[in-house]
């Protein structure tokens, strides 16, 4: 049972429906879902969707890399399949695994039956005993192309990266005991990386690339206003301006947008209307996550940083 014959069904022509009219439509769609994307990011996503090529997103932590995939999935009204990479990730937890216990039981049960060895073998290596892991799930999607998010690919090792290459170019997975499975609907693939190591050229070559940088002041204010709609405008601009001043400092881990939102949420729930030195001091833990960075901010003078933002 070679599923390769299904090739016709997977040719791009049959799924030629274009989900987005143009880049603007995508920007608006993202905004409807509370994700403020600039045109550069929207263009990259648009291209990845349109040309069915994976998109590699790099950037500092907390700037919404993973969020792109989530928003894209809900915008396309399709499933999001997520594979979180880690060191030591192997094929059996990323692609598929046999259900060994069930197989052993099946062997026992069939012991007395008069099936031939070949028949038994075919039975215990059938779909019934196959545990689908994220990558196989993305290939097997029945209804429509899912969004496949491969998160923090830089954490997986080279061997896994090489395997991924094969998957991303052919969108087929071979289960040696069973058959080769080819994707009915080619998934939209989004990879994110924190740059702990350089990815191989071969992988990078297959992807569109986008670098997410810290947002501009206006953009970040817009992001905060969409994510924390209850926040007063003055306070919002105070928080964002302060975070921007903090990013100018020479910190080990500059705060990302996620930290801005945390900090805004914290200040808001403390019932403040404007930002002052005292409130920053008590909520500093939302913004920076190490003792040294906190000290650096204090050394620079919270009041001064706050003053600079006026």
């Amino acid at each position: 049972m070679d599923l390769k014959r299904d090739r016709d069904a997977t040719s791009p022509g049959s799924s030629g429906r274009q989900p987005f009219k143009d880049v603007d439509a995508l920007v608006q769609g993202f905004e409807r879902l509370n994700y403020i994307a600039d045109r550069a990011l929207a263009t990259a996503v648009f291209l990845a969707v349109q040309l069915r090529k994976p998109l590699l997103i790099e950037g500092h932590a907390g700037l919404g890399k993973t969020e792109v995939a989530k928003v894209l999935a809900s915008l396309l009204e399709t499933a999001l399949i997520r594979l979180q990479c880690y060191e030591g990730l192997d094929v059996s937890s990323a692609v598929y695994e046999w259900n060994y216990q069930k197989q052993l039981l099946a062997i026992k049960i069939e012991e007395k039956s008069d099936l031939t060895v070949e028949e038994k073998q075919r039975h215990i290596f059938s779909k019934e005993f196959l545990l689908e892991r994220p990558l196989l799930q993305s290939i097997l999607a029945e209804a429509a192309s899912p969004v496949l998010l491969i998160d923090e690919i830089d954490r997986a090792d080279d061997a896994f990266e090489a395997f991924l290459l094969e998957l991303l170019s052919d969108f087929q997975i071979t289960v040696p005991e069973m058959c080769t499975i080819k994707a009915r609907h080619i998934p939209y693939v989004i990879l994110t990386s924190n740059r702990t190591r350089e990815l191989s050229d071969a992988l990078k070559r297959r992807c569109f690339y986008h670098w997410i940088d810290y947002p501009s002041l206006e953009k970040e204010i817009k992001i905060v206003s969409t994510r924390l709609p209850g926040m007063e405008a003055d306070l919002r601009s105070d928080v964002v301006r302060f975070v921007h001043a903090v990013r100018q400092l020479d910190l080990g881990k500059p705060p990302g947008v996620a930290e801005t939102l945390d900090s805004g949420q914290a200040v808001m729930s403390l019932g403040k209307h404007r930002l002052d030195e005292e409130i920053i001091e008590v909520t500093l833990g939302c913004l920076v996550k190490s003792m040294e960075d906190g000290q650096k901010i204090r050394d620079a003078g919270i009041g001064k940083l706050l003053g600079n933002t006026e």
Binding site: Y100, K108, T196, Y209, G252
Partner: protein, 376 residues
Amino acid sequence: MDQTPAEYLTQFVVELCRFTRSNGLSGGLHRSLAALRAVKAVGTRDRESLRFALRAALCSSKAEWDLFDELFKAFEEQSQHTSKPGSGKQKTTVEGSSQRETPSPYLIGHDAGDTKPESDGKTAAGASVCERLATVDFSQIPQNDLLRLEELSLRLLRQMSLRLSRRLESGHRPGPIDLRRTIRRNLAHGGEPIVLAFRNKKPQKNRLLIFLDVSGSMNAYSGFLLKFAYALQKHFRHVDTFLFSTSLLEISEALRPRRLSAALEKLSQLAAGWSAGTKIGASLRELNRLHSRKLQAGSTIFMILSDGWDTGAPEVLAAELKAIHRRVRRVIWLNPLLGLADYEPVTRGMSAALPYTDVFAPAHNLVSLLALEKHL
């Protein structure tokens, strides 16, 4: 010119690709094709969309991403200068890139360096020469022995890395049972698990981060230490190599080629502050800030190759090295001056750094480099 807009655009994209490629962006035909398809997909309503689309298609790292914006601007300006963009030959370099700092002389050939000819340079060939060469201080090597020393060093370093990689292999001891293999293997026995298959842990390999001083005071040594870094990089699984003098430059990619000469060629293309002053503290801070993820807790060996002559503040050096020391498995400081008989690590930088150094060893000749094996 009776070009249709589409043809014009194609030509624009193709020439831009050629232009960016000749100015340092990676990629080949596949990239150009991707760029063409990308431009077709977004359409060409405005310059920005065009730039974003091309950037997404042509870049594959942060460095390229930054470079692209510059190149795109340069290319546009250039196209405006030539009255008919796309026709005629265009010059293929930006002014900026020709201002590269001159590469260090020792990357170009063997005739470089401040090596002084020495009287006892000519002795009998053979094993004794090798033996002698291995112990001669790098800065004292006579001109005509350089080539031989290089061969020798490559050979010895290769041996060392081979031993290192073998040592990391582990035996096939019984461990957790590998159910998948066990079932496959025992199909012949009707599924009764008679022959067991085990899963062994993959040997944990250390990462190595090499931090090499190429400032003026290290001139006599940095060439050899660079080759040492190359040898290590070739056989360790994860090696990140950085050069520093007053600022930091990552050269891991440049050291990747299989032949040393190709690697050196590639290196000489990179602008670095060869033979400039030393700011160890500032360079370490840059490393901490920009590349801290490469210093993985527990599994990284941090190797710094420097003579410790620092023009920056020693407090900065101490603070930054302390931060690194806290994260990594081991800090190794190799100091070529330690080979001198009367050397004491009393320079301000060096004495500030010593408390945060696990291994402090000489690196002035081949023997001392090979002795490092036991620390890796």
